[in-house]
Symmetry: C2
Subunit: 137 residues, 2 copies
């Protein structure tokens, strides 16, 4: 059993966010002790994990709540949940491609500046000159 603080550290999510998510109904099975303190089980950590996963690929909280609710309803919702996971995976793969593109651009920029520094900033008297160079790619 873990306190909210321990979960925050373990899962790298802030306590504030965990409480916010809890209030949003993302952790329907977290128990409380006699002092009303949340006691996260290993099972609950798995819920945190999937919520974190869905959030990190841009799933809206409303849609996450929908997925959680489907899980609670039970096996009749398995096809819909499968669809959600498939769509989310596709979205994540798109993001992967997009991120790779941006990494390529950053890599180009990095080399561009390296070259500028290596050649000791000749032709550097005019700000616009630099901006012209900036436009590259």
């Amino acid at each position: 059993m873990y306190t909210i603080k321990e979960v925050a550290e373990k899962m790298d999510v802030s306590e504030h966010t965990l409480r916010f998510w809890a209030k949003s109904g993302f952790f329907p099975f977290v128990k409380r002790d006699q002092n009303n303190i949340r006691q996260f089980s290993e099972d609950d950590l798995a819920w945190v994990k999937i919520v974190k996963c869905l959030r990190s690929v841009g799933t809206e909280n409303k849609a996450i709540k929908r997925y959680i609710d489907l899980c609670i309803i039970g096996d009749s919702t398995i096809p819909e949940r499968y669809g959600i996971i498939q769509a989310t995976k596709l979205k994540a793969e798109e993001q992967m491609k997009e991120l790779q593109k941006q990494l390529d651009l950053l890599d180009y920029k990095e080399k561009f500046y390296q070259n500028l520094i290596k050649n000791n900033l000749k032709d550097s008297w005019n700000p616009m000159n630099n901006i012209q160079l900036e436009k590259a790619l």
Copy 2:
């Protein structure tokens, strides 16, 4: 020369966002025609591209403005700009790893549901049963 609508389509950024970015000072060289309509040049598109890149890896707008301002100042700021690009690239690489982790989890989940569907939902009488399975990974 492109209107804001054309830029929006070409660069896949909404007109609203482009105006918001313009107001934030991200496109300091966009000219206007006699009716005050923005006229984006090819150079301006390059600025849109780098702004989009920085945003997509989570750079805050304040930091983007700083980078733009450094570009305008000129060559004396090249070392700082180089540092920013390097740091941004590192951050993007981290995000790549993180996204891959989440993709792995989604892939596991997908196979998990496929298996559930293939085996025709036996043992499915109890909602909790399903939740137990959900916790996997």
